[in-house]
């Protein structure tokens, strides 16, 4: 992998006039790592455990074709208007009787497996296992829930991710991406808008890490989809009262599990990187802030080459790093 240290561009013609670079042979994440949030909904579940209908195009069957590849249930959450229970079970997991079963408090989309701030433990999943995900809740409402699944090596699909130490090392500047999403009222993901739809301030051909995000309205899940994530949807709970948790969601996951789980996208793909929301039958309009960090070019595999430096507006490459 070639790392650019200096690139001079003719702004008028976009041509590279001068370039200094070196071949990087250090450790990088090369396998087909992927992260996917799978959401579903139950219509009028009441007190009966009701199997969730996956959001359009999604499935609770674990992807992959090889059980030896690490696949993890990193977290789960639910958005109920009335209190209920979220149950996740499979014969491949602890038991098919009760399994992972947690109380969902009304009107709070909080993580149900761990808080991710004080270490974390993930449930191992197995390729092609069909998880049974059920929810109880209100008798006259759509209730929703989501699972966040991490794949260490998903054959044929790969996203771009970095870990926390790498972020600290190659992070340059914080930047907020703000978008407005109008969710659909069907329980599916909807209202997808491009990441640059409201403010187009990303620097061309530059990598950005998504640390997490915040919402102003309660929903189930904020999804971020893009070619840099293998066209899979990464996501976090749409909970406005837990902003300190969601604004560093992916960073907490990476730190909690000690792996590369911070999604990285290149601004060259900004039109193909979209943000949408899944919520209950109330729909709603969401203002979403994604907390991003501009990265040094060429550090995360799969980035743009060529003009992959930050011309102005950002710190020089030597300004990367954190206080110590």
């Amino acid at each position: 992998m070639r790392v650019n240290t200096k690139v001079v561009i003719d702004i008028g013609s976009d041509l590279v006039m001068e370039r200094e670079s070196f071949e990087y042979c250090g450790p990088v994440e090369q396998c087909g790592r992927a992260l996917e949030v799978v959401a579903g909904f139950a219509t009028n579940p009441g007190a009966t455990f009701t199997v969730l209908t996956p959001s359009t195009g999604q499935s609770f069957t674990v992807r992959g074709t090889d059980i030896t590849k690490g696949t993890w249930l990193l977290n789960a959450w639910a958005f109920n208007a009335a209190a209920g229970e979220l149950r996740i079970r499979s014969p491949r997991l602890h038991d098919f009787f009760s399994g992972i079963r947690n109380r969902v408090t009304a009107a709070q989309t909080a993580p149900l497996l761990e808080n991710l701030l004080n270490g974390a433990y993930a449930q191992r999943l197995y390729a092609q296992d069909n998880l049974t995900v059920e929810l109880t809740g209100g008798a006259a409402e759509i209730d929703t829930a989501s699972l966040l699944i991490g794949y260490e090596d998903l054959g044929g699909v790969a996203g771009r991710f970095c870990d926390f130490p790498t972020l600290q090392k190659i992070g340059l500047n914080m930047v907020t991406v703000e978008v407005t999403v109008t969710a659909v009222a069907t329980g599916n993901f909807g209202g997808a808008v491009a990441i640059n739809s409201t403010i187009d301030n990303l620097i061309a051909n530059t990598d950005y890490a998504v640390l997490g995000g915040m919402v102003d309205t309660r929903g189930d899940t904020v999804g971020i989809t893009g070619v840099d994530f293998g066209n899979l949807r990464v996501g976090f709970p749409a909970e406005p009262s837990l902003r300190n948790l969601t604004n560093s969601w992916f960073m907490n996951i990476a730190e909690g599990f000690g792996g590369a789980w911070i999604p990285v996208f290149n601004s060259a793909n900004k039109t193909q990187t979209t943000i949408d929301v899944q919520t209950n039958g109330a729909g709603g309009t969401y203002i979403i802030n994604l907390e991003c960090v501009q990265l040094l070019p060429g550090q995360v595999p799969g980035g743009a080459t060529g003009a992959a430096v930050q011309p102005g507006g950002g710190g020089a490459p030597t300004s990367a790093g954190q206080p110590h």
Partner: protein
């Protein structure tokens, strides 16, 4: 107290020796308003107070804020406002109505074909070299994406995958029942192959 002691020592018998309502005052009437007020200020049968009488945080001060519930996003002094946004009920109703109309008109997100981000990046970089500039136009970008989607995907035989996974689970069960840690067992399956492990352990079982 110091003031009272000083007055007594001096033999003073005037009204200033004790404040109005004080039990030692010459005109003390326990039912008078002054006496009741003195008791309120000075007699605390339940013990020491955390805050002085009439302090804004004292539990018995009328209008104190101790009982307010500070929920996330809600100003308890303006509990009628919408949580997190601070909109009045009228504004909130208007926004909700507008939002409901917008939600009805909103489209569900398209379903995308999963792909390999490394392949996309490689294809984009090839295109950049081909066109001779680094920032691709929307058309150039779309061309690359269209080409990627047109590429034939490797054939997957679901039956073959089912068999492979069933064998892997069988091998995993064999190893776990022989007290191999799960990670070790999975590594063995990955390195040796499920069929080989099943064969080996079945042979061992027969031998035993």
């Amino acid at each position: 107290m110091a003031r009272i002691t000083k007055g007594l020592e001096a033999g003073a018998r005037n009204d200033d020796a004790f404040p109005p309502g004080h039990p030692a005052r010459h005109d003390y009437d326990p039912k008078s308003a002054a006496a009741m007020e003195w008791v309120r200020q000075n007699v605390h049968p339940l013990g020491d107070r955390d805050f002085p009488v009439d302090h804004p945080k004292a539990a018995d001060t009328p209008g104190n804020t101790n009982v307010l519930e500070w929920s996330a996003g809600v100003d308890p002094r303006n509990a009628h406002l919408e949580p997190f946004t601070g909109r009045t009920p009228e504004q909130a109703a208007g926004v909700a109505q507008m939002s409901a109309i917008a939600s009805l008109a909103a489209a569900e997100s398209p379903v995308l074909q999963p792909l390999n981000a490394m392949e996309v990046a490689e294809a984009m970089n090839v295109k950049r070299n081909a066109v001779g500039h680094d920032v691709l136009t929307a058309d150039e970008y779309s061309e690359v994406m269209a080409e990627l989607h047109r590429r034939p995907r490797p054939d997957v035989n679901p039956e073959q995958i089912r068999e492979q996974i069933a064998a892997q689970h069988q091998a995993l069960t064999l190893l776990l029942t022989r007290a191999y840690p799960r990670e070790t067992a999975l590594n063995m399956i990955s390195l040796e192959g499920a069929e080989s492990i099943i064969k080996r352990f079945s042979a061992e079982a027969k031998g035993a």
